[in-house]
Symmetry: C2
Subunit: 326 residues, 2 copies
């Protein structure tokens, strides 16, 4: 199929075309990469549809799948179309630890208004990031109203997700005691909304305590210019009982509307585009070391360096000459 | 001066030649870089003198200067020559926050057998690392028996120091309570020897408690193949009263001797050389973005990306074409 035809079908809402396009952007073949770039450029010109991109992080056990399922069904009931993507650099090793199969979100995956796609299988977070970011652009062009980008929060993956989202949601489980869970300060500072899940049954009091703890911690953080009064905020939800989800969505909408009015929404997207451009250039520079010839040459030089026949600096200079084709 | 002559003087123990050579390796000028590489290659061939390279990390307030002074004076008294270098990526901003002036180690700096050199002023840790590593090689060729490489432990600087040291020493102050200080697990795992300083006067009981806590924590760490029985270990010292320093040096010597006999010493140096080779290649690849032309082009493309005229991927492709001179 021609790229232009594929683009046309995506914009017309053809889900199979969308799935095929995502497969294209996930490919590492050079010709596929070129086609993918052409496709995304075509769609950029063709469509100015804009989804709300929601980054969602939560460690295993907080009920992320249940939340996405319930939250997604609620959005569908409001007439919105929802795409779910994932960033999981561990999926190459584990064979897809998150979103590996759609049975995790059985109801949502059967809905015509929903689109669920597992994380691309890549060993490098940089590769996962680019492919997911391109998949977000495809879903946006395909007219989805909300794109949820999920991560399990391994190492840098939250940063990656936050850098491609309009707002960042942190999902937590009720904590045992009265102390904050081991959430890193950097993650806290990225969160626009903290949702304490499982606020139902026996866990409800613990959930409310946890919510109060985090609300207190958020108040101690420096006020950010991109936040309206009362944000970032922490609230309780029960994905299981579908409780508090409509209110959480209202909170998200309020935040997005305020940011749109104040210019922060577009400003953030512009900053993110700059960020990804710089990241891609760095990635491309370092990818020069990944060809079979470069690897072989690196191995030879590393051996000579380890044996003390050549200093690291001289070996590096020689490697750079080789890469430049001197 | 010719490079060969400079090399000859360094090997002959000329301190002014050494200082001049370090200035050369710290320079960012391309012709100086080439001369520095030539010098280090010359010295590699000319001399097989090998110092014990000791990495030393400790946050401000643990008494690092006092320790280096007392420990250095003790080594001198044993007839050993000592060089002190520093890795401090913040020194460019602060104008030299550690080892900024020699008054910090007044006695040691006046000794003919000691050589003290502040951290190179560089904004990038990568730059500081390379220059310090080359300075270590120079000090080694100049016949110093011990090279102490100090860092304040900002971000990644401990890793950098550990990767250029034969053993890594963590200096701590007595903790207030019975809980471990906020030493990151990764730093703990790098340490071959933990020295709890200020084990004197009122602080002695606290120092002993802290030492016991860390000794316990070290026992919980996985046994490393490069350690003899009883290592890594935690001991008390008092730099002020010059107490425990000879014993600490004995512990270090024992560790180094054991590693030499078992091949771990040379193995580690070989691994480090490989590591620095790979780091230098990465650094050199990314340095292509630091030329005035590349910066200007990056700025132009970033602006177009932020304004939505071009996607990050297409912009990155264009940048790579520019760098290749297409």
């Amino acid at each position: 199929m021609e790229i232009a035809e594929l683009a046309g079908r995506i914009v017309a809402g053809d889900r199979r075309a969308l799935a095929r396009a995502i497969t294209l952007v996930e490919s590492r073949r050079a010709d596929h990469r070129a086609q993918a770039a052409e496709l995304i450029e075509d769609l950029r010109v063709r469509s100015d549809a804009q989804a709300i991109r929601i980054g969602l992080s939560g460690t295993p056990g907080v009920g992320k799948s249940t939340f996405i399922e319930s939250f997604g069904m609620m959005l569908l009931a409001q007439g919105l179309r929802v795409a779910v993507l994932a960033v999981d650099p561990s999926s190459a090793r584990s064979g897809g630890s998150i979103l590996g199969d759609k049975t995790r979100m059985e109801r949502l995956s059967r809905e015509p208004g929903a689109f669920i796609r597992p994380s691309p299988s890549q060993t490098h977070l940089g590769g996962v990031a680019r492919r997911t970011r391109e998949a977000v652009a495809l879903c946006e062009a395909a007219g989805f109203d909300v794109v949820l980008i999920e991560t399990v929060g391994v190492g840098q993956s939250e940063t990656v997700v936050a850098e491609m989202s309009d707002l960042f949601v942190l999902l937590l489980a009720p904590a045992g005691g009265d102390e904050l869970q081991g959430v890193k300060r950097g993650i806290m500072e990225m969160a626009d909304l903290i949702l304490v899940n499982k606020a139902d049954g026996d866990l409800k009091p613990a959930a409310m305590r946890t919510q109060a703890d985090y609300a207190g911690a958020l108040r101690l953080l420096r006020k950010r210019p991109q936040d309206p009064e009362g944000y970032p905020k922490a609230v309780c939800v029960s994905a299981l009982q579908e409780d508090g989800l409509a209110k959480a969505w209202e909170d998200m909408r309020h935040l997005v509307d305020w940011r749109r009015e104040t210019g922060h929404f577009e400003g953030r997207r512009a900053e993110q585009a700059r960020y990804w451009f710089a990241q891609e250039v760095r990635h491309a520079l370092l990818a020069q070391l990944e060809t079979p010839q470069a690897r072989a040459q690196m191995d030879d030089l590393a051996r000579a360096v380890a044996e003390g026949q050549i200093t690291p600096t001289v070996a590096a200079t020689r490697m750079m000459e080789d890469l430049r084709g001197d």
